[in-house]
């Protein structure tokens, strides 16, 4: 136990507490210096925490090939327009949708001549623009040909980007709608 009283740490502590140490011109004995160093350490710690949080909670929404996608936007849009099956779709979110309240959302889809379409899979996605941890998706259930429903519950009030993806033969057709969810 002798090193507790004779080790370098103990020496530092003694010099800090000892008034006579100040007379030896050691800056470590000055409470102002210690205070400033402490402040800097706090700022650095906060920065480090923020940087770690930024990495850990990164939603990863950025595409790997964003530059190429940006350059090809015109071709992508043209392709999408050419491949679009000419469906007419509607997404019906009740006007009184509120947070934490079960709401039935319905999706209607007919083809180019107005006959109901029956995609293999219809999925409802809800994106929270500011908080990806609140995002969710649920499969929609067919109520009648061309009519799909799902009961959803939005965890937060405010803006949501909702999107329905109808999948047939590996091709995905997307319909989106931005909605506002009331706080109660």
């Amino acid at each position: 136990m002798s090193n507790v009283t004779t080790g370098p740490l103990a020496a530092g502590l003694r010099s800090m507490l000892d008034v006579s140490a100040r007379e030896t011109n050691s800056a470590w004995g000055n409470p102002w210096v210690m205070g400033w160093i402490g402040l800097i350490l706090v700022v650095l710690a906060v920065n480090a925490t923020m940087i770690v949080l930024a990495f850990v909670t990164n939603p990863g929404l950025v595409n790997e090939d964003y530059y190429e996608r940006g350059r090809n936007i015109e071709r992508t849009l043209t392709t999408r327009r050419a491949e679009a099956p000419g469906w007419t779709m509607s997404l019906d979110t009740p006007a009184d949708v509120a947070k934490e309240r079960a709401t039935t959302v319905r999706f209607h889809v007919v083809d180019a001549v107005g006959q109901p379409v029956r995609p293999e899979r219809v999925t409802y996605y809800a994106y929270r623009p500011s908080d990806p941890s609140a995002d969710f998706s649920q499969p929609m259930v067919e109520e009648a040909p061309g009519r799909y429903a799902v009961k959803v519950r939005f965890a937060l009030a405010g803006l949501w980007d909702t999107l329905v993806a109808a999948e047939t033969d590996g091709q995905e057709v997307i319909f989106d709608q931005r909605i506002g969810v009331a706080s109660r």
Binding site: V110, G114, R147
Partner: protein
Amino acid sequence: MADHNPFPGENNTGHFWDDNIRELNNPPPQWWMIALWASLAWFILYGLLYPMFPVMPWQSQESGGFTRGILGWSSIQEFERGMEQVTAVRAQYEDRIADMSAEEILADPGLTQYTLASAKVIFGDYCAACHGSGGQGNPGYPVLADDDWLYGGSLAKITETITNGRKGAMTAHKDILTEAEVDRLARFTVELADGGEGSEAGWALFNEKGCTACHGQAANGILAELPDGTIVTVGAANLTDSIWRFEPGGYESARHTILYGVNQPGIENTRDAVMPAFGDAGGNLEGKLDSNQIKKLAVYVHSLGGGQ
């Protein structure tokens, strides 16, 4: 340790440190003791009065798996009492509605407000799936919030529609008309829908092929107008406005309807356009509405924007 007590008669525990630091044996403050006993008394009293202890937890609540309390209170009873109160408050309106016609309800602003609020829930449960949560319609399902009606937008007609349902019919013309005739008629309907007058040849074909029998002489879906203003239709679409019964509308859509018809049994690709009947005056059938609910719905649909 306590062999020699330097502070005799002080009510200390006999534990000393550093000569004079010692543990005293003071009672807790009086307010604290009062609170302790009061909470204990509250606990016992509450346990006696209200359901509390699970005596046989493996038993269901109904078989008495817990102490019931002297007062016999239960949350479900409180809920039921609340519901009775709500029913009592509603009764004054419901009784009046039962004795009134839909027209009379509409003439009373207070009662109309009550009816609209009440019918909104029924509409959400029974109508919104097809006609949209606000009556805005959906592809393949008519809009209820505009003044374009297939069977008429009067209260009587709306009531009739809800009660008995509707099933329009249009013959499939794929084996009746030639490809060229179908093409010309489809173009003709697009001309009319775009606000045009319609070509002479188009009108001639329209009349010749008997389209007027259902769509009317003026192609507006009206067969006759009675002296009292009642409009006679068979549910055929008005071809002279820009509203399409089957979205997205346009040439291809019109052509499809002419070729395969509406609700034609045995015809593949025929339009499916059926509104189920919701009437159930006896109140015996599940999923059906009683006459009061239909009356409320008629007022609601009439008030969506297109009531006549």
